[in-house]
C-alpha cells in the first residue's frame, strides 16, 4: 500500500504550493510513490475526508503558512492527529514568515487599517469581520482572527522543518525520498544543509577578507554587478547569517539574500545575529556617521526579522492603537 501524505496551507501566499507544483514531472514520481490524501489547493478532498481517516493514517503532513485563525489552528491539530510526521513547510510554518510581521501591530489596528483607514477602502457601513453573523434568521460562524501570528511549532508539535520562501522543489523531493526510504534524520531537524549561504555562494571568491562599508545601498539605487560579492557592492545581503540550501536563487537573480532559509543550528535568534553581522560590516567609528549610515536601513525589524518575527525570543509588544491610526 502506498504511503499517504497531505499538503495544507495556513496563513500563506500560495508560493509554497507553487513549490510543490514546481516539482514538474517529478511530481508524477511523487504521485507514483505516495498517495496524496488531502491537498485543498489542487484536489477536491474536504475536511471530513481527513476527519474520516484513522489517527496516524497519514505518513506525513506538509503544512505551510503561519497560524493566525482558529480554523488554521483546528486544521493543524487535526492533521497532527492524523499524521505520523508533521513537516513545517516553508518560512511561514518554520519561523512565522512575512505574515508574522503583523505581530508588530495589534489586531485592532490591522483590522481598522484594512477595513476602514486605507484610502482605497470604500466601506460606508463600517463592516468589520466578526466571528458570528446573524442575518435574516440565519446564523453563520466564522473563524476567529487571533491577535498574534504563530509559527507552526508554537501551536502543534512539529517533527521536521523545510525552510524557504518558498522551499525549493529539490528539498521537497529529498524529504519525500527520505520519508519513503525511512531514513529521516533525528526529530526536530531542519531538512536543509547546516551551513551559511555565504559559505557556498558562487560569488564567494570576490568577497574581500575584510569589509568596511561607508554605507548600505538599496538594490534599486545601484547597477548591481552580476559576479561580484553583493556585500562588497554595499548591498545588505544576509547570506552570512542565513542557512544554505536555496540554490542561490536570489543571488543568481542578482539580488541580495533576504534570509528566508532562516538561521543555522548554532543560532537561536536570526534577527539578532543578522543585526550583529551587518552592523559590524560598517567601516565608520563615529556615532553620528554610524547613525547616518544605518538610516539607509529604514525598517530594521522588517529587514532582519522579515521571516522570523514570531519565532524570535523577544516577542514584540505592539503599541496600543492610537486614535490617529
Amino acid at each position: 500500500m502506498k504511503l499517504k501524505v497531505a499538503f495544507y496551507w495556513c496563513a500563506a501566499c500560495g508560493g509554497c504550493e507553487e513549490a510543490v507544483v514546481d516539482l514538474g514531472e517529478k511530481l508524477l514520481d511523487v504521485v507514483a510513490a505516495v498517495e496524496i490524501a488531502f491537498w485543498p489547493v489542487a484536489l477536491d478532498f474536504k475536511r471530513k475526508d481527513v476527519e474520516a481517516l484513522e489517527d496516524g493514517a497519514l505518513a506525513a503532513a506538509f503544512i505551510n503558512g503561519a497560524v493566525r485563525t482558529s480554523e488554521q489552528l483546528e486544521m493543524a491539530r487535526l492533521l497532527q492527529r492524523k499524521a505520523q510526521t508533521v513537516v513545517a513547510f516553508g518560512s511561514c510554518a518554520h519561523t512565522g514568515g512575512v505574515p508574522g510581521l503583523a505581530n508588530l501591530y495589534p489586531r485592532e489596528t490591522l483590522l481598522r487599517t484594512v477595513y476602514q483607514a486605507l484610502p482605497s477602502v470604500v466601506n460606508p457601513e463600517a463592516t468589520h469581520p466578526t466571528p458570528e453573523v446573524r442575518d435574516s434568521g440565519r446564523h453563520l460562524e466564522l473563524p476567529q482572527f487571533f491577535d498574534t501570528v504563530y509559527a507552526l511549532d508554537q501551536v502543534i508539535e512539529v517533527d521536521y522543518y523545510i525552510p524557504g520562501c518558498p522551499p525549493t522543489p529539490a528539498l521537497l523531493a529529498d524529504a519525500v525520498t527520505a520519508l519513503l526510504a525511512g531514513r529521516l534524520p533525528e526529530k526536530g531537524a531542519v531538512l536543509a544543509p547546516d551551513r551559511a549561504l555565504c559559505d557556498e555562494c558562487p560569488r564567494r571568491d570576490s568577497k574581500p577578507e575584510k569589509l568596511a562599508l561607508a554605507e548600505f545601498k538599496r538594490p534599486h539605487e545601484v547597477l548591481i554587478e552580476p559576479d561580484k560579492c553583493l556585500l562588497a557592492q554595499g548591498l545588505l545581503c544576509l547570506g552570512p547569517a542565513t542557512r544554505s540550501g536555496c540554490g542561490w536563487r536570489c543571488i543568481d537573480g542578482n539580488m541580495p539574500c533576504t534570509g528566508c532559509f532562516g538561521p543555522t543550528s548554532r543560532v537561536r535568534d536570526f534577527g539578532a545575529k543578522a543585526i550583529s553581522g551587518m552592523a559590524s560590516l560598517l567601516g565608520c567609528n563615529e556615532a553620528g556617521t554610524i547613525i547616518r549610515a544605518l538610516e539607509r536601513i529604514p525598517d530594521p525589524a522588517g529587514t532582519f526579522y522579515r521571516y522570523s518575527l514570531p519565532a524570535a525570543p523577544l516577542r514584540p509588544r505592539p503599541a496600543a492603537p492610537s486614535a490617529a491610526q
Partner: protein, 157 residues
C-alpha cells in the same frame, strides 16, 4: 510608532525596583565597578553585572534574551573610543548598538531601557552617575513586560 507610556498605576508604584542587566568589559567598565566598590561609592543596587572580555563580545542575542527573560533594562559598558584592549571591539559594539536600538524600538522596547556607555577603569564616579541615572529613567518607564512565548497547549480558539 506611537509612544508607549507607562500607566499611571505603574509610575505610582514606588515599590518597583528595575532589574538591569549590565554587560561590562573586562578591561575598563568592570574595573570601574571594582573601583567603585573598593572606594565605597554608593549607587543603586539594581544592576546585575555580567563580565565580558570586550563590549564587542556582547552578541545582540544576549540583549534580546535579557529582555525576553524579564530584564527592565540592559546597559553595556566598554572602553572609550581608541582605548579598546582589542583595538576596535568597542566600535563594533557601537555600530551594533545603534542598529539594535532602532530594532528594539520597533519591538516596543523604549530607548531608555537600552544604553551603551564608555567608562574607563578610573571612572568609578561616572559609573555611579550612569547607573543611578539609568535606574531612575527605567523606574519612570515602569516594568518591562515581554509578551510571553506561547505554549501550544495554551493557544485556544
Amino acid at each position: 510608532m506611537s509612544e508607549t507610556s507607562p500607566s499611571s498605576a505603574e509610575s505610582a508604584n514606588s515599590a518597583f525596583e528595575p532589574k538591569i542587566v549590565a554587560f561590562f568589559c573586562n578591561w575598563c567598565t568592570y574595573l570601574a565597578a571594582d573601583l567603585a566598590g573598593t572606594s565605597r561609592l554608593r549607587y543603586a543596587p539594581n544592576i546585575r553585572v555580567v563580565r565580558v572580555m570586550c563590549s564587542g563580545r556582547v552578541d545582540p542575542q544576549f540583549v534580546l534574551d535579557a529582555f525576553a527573560q524579564g530584564a527592565d533594562g540592559v546597559l553595556i559598558g566598554g572602553c572609550h573610543p581608541g582605548d579598546c584592549h582589542y583595538q576596535e571591539g568597542n566600535y563594533k559594539a557601537l555600530r551594533r548598538f545603534h542598529l539594535l536600538r532602532r530594532t528594539l524600538e520597533q519591538l516596543g522596547v523604549e530607548p531608555e531601557r537600552f544604553r551603551l556607555e564608555w567608562i574607563s577603569a578610573a571612572e568609578a564616579d561616572r559609573l555611579r552617575t550612569v547607573v543611578n541615572e539609568m535606574v531612575e529613567q527605567v523606574r519612570a518607564r515602569g516594568p518591562f513586560r515581554p509578551k510571553a512565548a506561547p505554549q501550544f497547549q495554551e493557544v485556544t480558539a
